[in-house]
Amino acid sequence: MPRKSAGLLIAALVALAGGLAACGSSGGSGGTASSSNVLKVWWYEGPGSAYQVAWDQAITDFKKQHPGVTVQFSLKSFNQMQQNASMILNSSDVPDVMEYNKGDATTGLLSKQGLLTDLTPEAAKYGWDKLLSPNLQVTARYNTKGVMGSGDWYGVSDYAEYLTVYYNKSLFAKYGVQVPTTTAQLTEVMAKFAKAGVTPFANAGNDYMAMQYLYEMELSQSTPQNVQNYERYTGSVNFHDAAWTNAVNTFQDWVKKGYIAKDSVGLTATQAGNDFETGKNPMLMSGSWWAGTFESEIKNFGWGTFLWPGNTLNAGSGGNLFVVPKNAANKQLAYEFINDTLQPDVQKLLANNGAVPVTASITGVTNPLNVQLIQNFQTLANDNGLAYYPDWPTPSFYNTLLAQTQDLMNGANASGVLSTLQTDYDQYVSSLG
């Protein structure tokens, strides 16, 4: 029917017009407003998180200090940043300052390619190099090969994170167990729960959690030098040494004994977190990033945190970085914003909402849970106990470790798993040249 065809044609023209209008009105986000009056800030921490609360305050402070400047904030998704950062930074659509992941595969890689601004002069000028302790600076500085730990400053973290054990005080009281401080005591606690039919630890095999259990076990027998070799390629790494062998054996042993549920192999971190919140597991070993969530969501029982018993080394590091893209329009404003995130009022907000401020200060922190969280971190930082994370050394290690720990949970040969890790690790390191 002519009417129908005409209708289609009109619809098509409208669509075309709409599409062209979309092209025109959107287009590059840069270049419309006069650049010296706009600060573009991106981050991907969700609304309601400690970081969002604190960084919103930083924006407020910044606006007070710079009355003529408009701050354009955009909430991004972590996936989008991870997947497309190099493409975004290589275009003209860059923000002035953005949150980005720390590590060789992320900030290290981009700094090596010249996509990030060198912040070393600013670090000296604003005193960031004094504010961040040396072991927190490791993730902020990258050399010309993109390896962290030395070289120029390419990002600044205003918070820190580490792995800790969350425990359910009600369940502990119910089953008559105390907070363990040694490995032997931990084993006792787990055995008691297991005998009562309760799986002691929540876990997620289909996510970052399982490999972190493995790593903590490995760290129990590792040395600081080994950690440096592992994360910064300063020496060779042997996955069949005592520490790793002990780790995989202990891990499989725990799964066999039911200390970690075998059928947590397919769970995601969100499910594991929910398992802890609903009281199904009395303990969860995971990042300090859960504290804020638990504080706002757990109403039914009291909970606390303690450091993994028996370890001097513990996973942890500086938090995500704020970086300034090379193509940023307003670098000076970006530096000032970064400086604002390190001020006491913002740091206090981080602390009071469940994050660990990089200054690790507990002044003005009201909730004892947060005080404990920060103090535990301080213990680690003072004793040089921060050992980063297991998936950092190679870009593919997250996927490899995830698959291998799942295999471990399903009963694979421990030595075979170690060999696979060895091959993967060596292959990457040799490609670094």
């Binding site: 129908k4 289609l8 599409g19 092209c23 959107s26 590059g28 991907y44 998180s49 493409m87 970052y208």
Partner: protein, 290 residues
């Protein structure tokens, strides 16, 4: 293709008489299938507006004892979800119309015109729909940057028009290759040129297939998350799946708000589907030459 009174015009008593036990069995079986298929949706609905405290205390399977929209409200404001909905409608709408147009043109040449080498041409076009998308990302990014189309909706519209049109060409040309030639002959004898035959004869008769294409293209484009994630960077350009992605944090994900936001994001597609369902069931019209 025949001219046939639609079946629902058959007298009712004749229909009812045919409802034997086999018919009831079939109905029951299919209803069971449909109900089972809907179970996940029930779970989403259960959790979409559940108060977070409830979820934290009792998990995803509990029946909500309250109604909470706080999470969705925050999400809506932070990501400018209204804008994302509008962008999705614009992009999906543009793509579905443009891709259908392209498909009609191509399918006419291939299915009815029987262009020489049409199997190869069809195969070449199909590659567009069949290529793994991750392989296209970096080259398309480079091209988009060259043309100044990076971070624009137009880039996404163009890309998906091509990809969807490939499928549309395939389906429509397959169907048109069995188009009743009598209709074409009759039109030609009436003196109609190729263009008129296309718009006055072929398109009206192919309405069910075109309706299918419109629905599919809209829904498929709506749910694309990978390429929009790459090309739509500014928040003002985001589509619904990209906006939903902000709920997936680095370590923690927000399942409640995701469920609620997903329901909101799914409404337009459901409405679109329901509207165009009627074209799928409308009977074929007869002798469309006017």
């Amino acid at each position: 293709m025949s001219a046939q009174p639609a079946d629902h015009r058959l007298p009712r008593h004749r229909l009812a008489r045919n409802r034997g036990p086999a018919a009831w069995l079939t109905l029951t079986a299919i209803v069971i299938v449909a109900v089972v298929i809907l179970i996940p949706f029930a779970l989403i609905a259960l959790n979409a507006f559940k108060p977070p405290a409830e979820y934290s205390a009792h998990g995803p399977l509990s029946f909500p004892d309250g109604f909470s929209t706080g999470g969705i409200q925050t999400f809506w404001d932070t990501t400018d979800f209204g804008r994302a909905l509008w962008n999705s409608i614009m992009i999906s709408g543009s793509v579905c119309v443009l891709a259908v147009l392209l498909s009609i043109l191509n399918a006419y040449a291939l299915g009815i015109g029987r262009v020489k080498g049409r199997t190869w041409i069809l195969g070449a076009f199909l590659i567009a729909n069949f290529l793994p998308q991750e392989g296209l990302v970096y080259p398309l990014y480079d091209l988009a940057k060259q043309f100044g189309l990076y971070d624009t909706q137009l880039s996404v519209i163009i890309i998906f028009t091509v990809i969807q049109a490939a499928f549309g060409t395939y389906l429509l040309s397959s169907v048109l290759s069995s188009f009743p030639t009598e209709l074409l002959e009759a039109a030609r004898m009436d003196g109609a040129g190729r263009g008129r035959i296309l718009w006055r004869v072929v398109v009206p008769v192919s309405r069910p297939t075109i309706g299918v294409l419109l629905v599919f293209f809209f829904i498929w484009t709506w749910n694309e998350f990978f390429l929009p994630l790459v090309f739509l960077i500014s928040n003002q350009n985001q589509t619904v799946p990209v906006a939903l992605g902000t709920l997936q944090g680095q370590h923690i994900m927000n399942p409640l708000t995701t469920s609620g936001a997903a329901l909101l994001g799914v409404f337009p597609t459901i409405i679109f589907f329901l509207i165009f369902q009627r074209t799928l069931t409308r009977g074929v019209t007869v002798g469309a030459i006017r």
